[in-house]
Symmetry: C2
Subunit: 218 residues, 2 copies
């Protein structure tokens, strides 16, 4: 059987409501379905449109799409079969020192006319000082939140292209860091398998809105 190669570089016009209602965690994938790196890049390009604390974008993505890397990840990810069968698994990481790229980000903003050079320089100094003074715990909290915002958008971007995903929190962080030589300042947040579903995801129940919502004050 020859590999199918997807043709989804362009986003399928997709209704937002349909995207969020049809996204389910899918655990069975067509192992012959190949996502090109260009297509994976387009998913990440959508994901990084998410907001982040002071727009510092501490999210980082490690894409595991080759057979040998999937096999290396498989035992580390509790032998979940989707790691082998999905087209790729994208590890979402948070860089505790991501804020140090603020000048790089602001340079782009200045080039595009989004901020003046003077504002960019002052803001960079201010953020470097304030983030530099934060505890590792406080930084960890921020990158977990920001990385998760991008992760959600990535899963929806996949669904909007007719692809499916499953987020995985259950994996051995220590072994993952060692096996994939993850830099010391990077915190693993979650793994997201992405590909073409071989079997539908199972529907899941939700608590009613009124059971998770309080008005005004507790």
């Amino acid at each position: 059987m020859t590999d199918q190669v997807s043709r989804i570089a362009e986003r399928i016009p997709a209704d937002f409501g349909e995207v969020i209602r049809t996204r389910r965690s899918v655990r069975h994938y067509d192992p012959h379905f190949v996502l090109s790196r260009e297509e994976i890049r387009s998913l990440i390009a959508d994901a990084v449109l998410a907001p982040s604390s002071n727009n510092l974008q501490p999210w980082r993505f490690l894409v595991i799409d080759r057979k040998e890397d999937k096999e290396k990840l498989y035992p580390i990810a509790n032998s979940q079969k989707q790691v082998l069968e999905a087209s790729a698994t994208i590890a979402v990481l948070g860089d505790l020192e991501g804020y140090k790229r603020v000048k790089e980000i602001n340079r782009i903003a200045v080039e595009r006319g989004y901020m003046t050079g003077e504002f960019a320089a002052q803001q960079a100094e201010r953020l470097l000082a304030s983030y530099g003074a934060r505890s590792e715990d406080a930084l960890r909290r921020i990158v977990l939140i920001d990385g998760s915002l991008a992760a959600m958008q990535l899963m929806l971007a996949a669904r909007a292209r007719g692809l499916d995903t499953v987020p995985m929190g259950g994996f051995d962080h220590e072994r993952f860091i060692e096996a994939f030589r993850v830099p010391a300042t990077y915190v693993p947040i979650m793994l997201i398998a992405v590909g073409k579903a071989a079997a539908e995801g199972r529907p899941t129940a939700r608590l009613p809105v009124d059971d998770v919502t309080v008005w005004g004050s507790f």
Copy 2:
């Protein structure tokens, strides 16, 4: 001037790509624009379609939509004007003991035919034991991630209805917990102001995909 009342109970058909490309953090809101509680419920209903660790849905929402509550929040949220001017600010919280509602969740799943009663009972016991054995740190990590996934979906759901949002991480957590009598097991994750933009959000720069993506291994 009479208050405008929004008529957005039904989602505006919205293209997913347009939703993510037009979502920007908006800091100036029309203070006369009223969102009904039914409309806010519909945003939260969309948000909770997000995935969560073992579908345990530890996200909780505190909706601050009355004048007196906005005024109470204002100084706690660093006097950011959107707290007063937006239709509402939704505090996204994570319940460290949220997993204890697994039987409630599974009861709904059984009623809908998503799982058998036997599976539901066994799975609930397994999850109660495994989450009960986790450290507070581990649980905090999980609820931060899950709450952030729902937060992202909430911001997009607002945009799909022609509304705007701004996530706020900068607020005094201690004072917030005290002022709004937040239960001891709840962790504040972020505040999201939501309403009708009075001025467009400013465009922001993003690091190129290739600068935040690694293939195969570091």
